[in-house]
Symmetry: C2
Subunit: 210 residues, 2 copies
Amino acid sequence: MQISKLARRSGVPVATVKFYLREGLLPPGELTGATRARYGEQHVERLGLIRALLGPGGLSVATARTVLEAVDAPATSMHQVLGTAHCTLPAVGPDVPHDLGQARELLRRHGWRVDDDSPALHALAAALEALRAAGAPPSDELLDRYAEAAGRLGEQDVADVPTGSLAEAVRFVVVNTVLLEPVLLTLRRLAHEDASRRRFPTGGDAAAAG
Amino acid sequence: MQISKLARRSGVPVATVKFYLREGLLPPGELTGATRARYGEQHVERLGLIRALLGPGGLSVATARTVLEAVDAPATSMHQVLGTAHCTLPAVGPDVPHDLGQARELLRRHGWRVDDDSPALHALAAALEALRAAGAPPSDELLDRYAEAAGRLGEQDVADVPTGSLAEAVRFVVVNTVLLEPVLLTLRRLAHEDASRRRFPTGGDAAAAG
DNA sequence: CTGGTTGGATAGTGTGAGTACCCAACACTA
DNA sequence: TAGTGTTGGGTACTCACACTATCCAACCAG
């Protein structure tokens, strides 16, 4: 299949397909001449993955490239998969020394062992700081609720990782790490909508809260 | 206090403070002359809120403006609070007719009553479609787990809404809806990190999954 | 041989979020 | 009251990002 058919099949404009090729998100097709290349079904699937990561996944092209590199080169340990998953978090500059206190304390309470220089830990500290800066300092009980829910999900997510092929596991991890985030956030909004409808039955709609 | 001191106090550059004034995120100070205005503590706090929404909250300036307008004009019902909270979701174009099937079925199983034209419902459908497009169709059991966790959080979040002042409630809802999202996502990542460390004890690190 | 397509490269577009600069109008100091 | 520096308000500029458009020679189908 040539690029125009690949574009039609995937619903992505030709110019954009070329862009993804340039950016290294999409592997090049098999060259059959100086101005001719052959693409396969795996390219169609890959484009689906790319669009999912860039759109609903909310990743930048640069981050998506890192993620896809991990998907492509699974000859490494599970360790690296973790690192890549964390790379998808928006970087939190270490120039702003966050107060890791409440974050660390929260993790300790839940028995989670996490590196002090884990990006996720710093991101958590930054998020808590943002809440305080916004005048809504989170209570420990609130954070415990969230940590408990996250812990349950994380536990079961990890239990779901296919152990057969490492390549399959990597792909599973990356895709689910990134693409279940919008699902979780949206479900939380919907839960707010439903809960507040029951709590504030004003008219037929009510408030959401978080 | 004048703009330069407001900038120092809040840690936001003067040019950026002016930008927020222009964009209507920050209410103007009290004019004391043609080239002089007075700002108060509430402006410092507001800047903290703005930075929290734009940074960790991940909102665009346009969305933040909508959210802040709701915070400023709480003379409305809880109904409108809900709508505003939903406005913070990235808009999902109705031009792409999503398959609402699995999403609706999920909500039905959990007894959540939600409007068919709710933005959150369409966002959920889009997220599920992205998972399928990425080659990782979510199982009903997986979605049930996420819905259960989200339901628990939503229930308790709504129970936490202060019922005293409507203005306070609105601010609480908006801030927590937006700013607890990064907390939840980060905790999930950390939970993955911890769970996978226990499941794949390779070296001292392991994989995350979602 | 001829017209349309392709791969590869270069350049341009539109948006979003600031940032820089300028100006006359101040306010404080000496 | 002259000098010095700051302000509000406006315009214009920058930078990053994710495409999008053009161009070109090579190519293939009719």
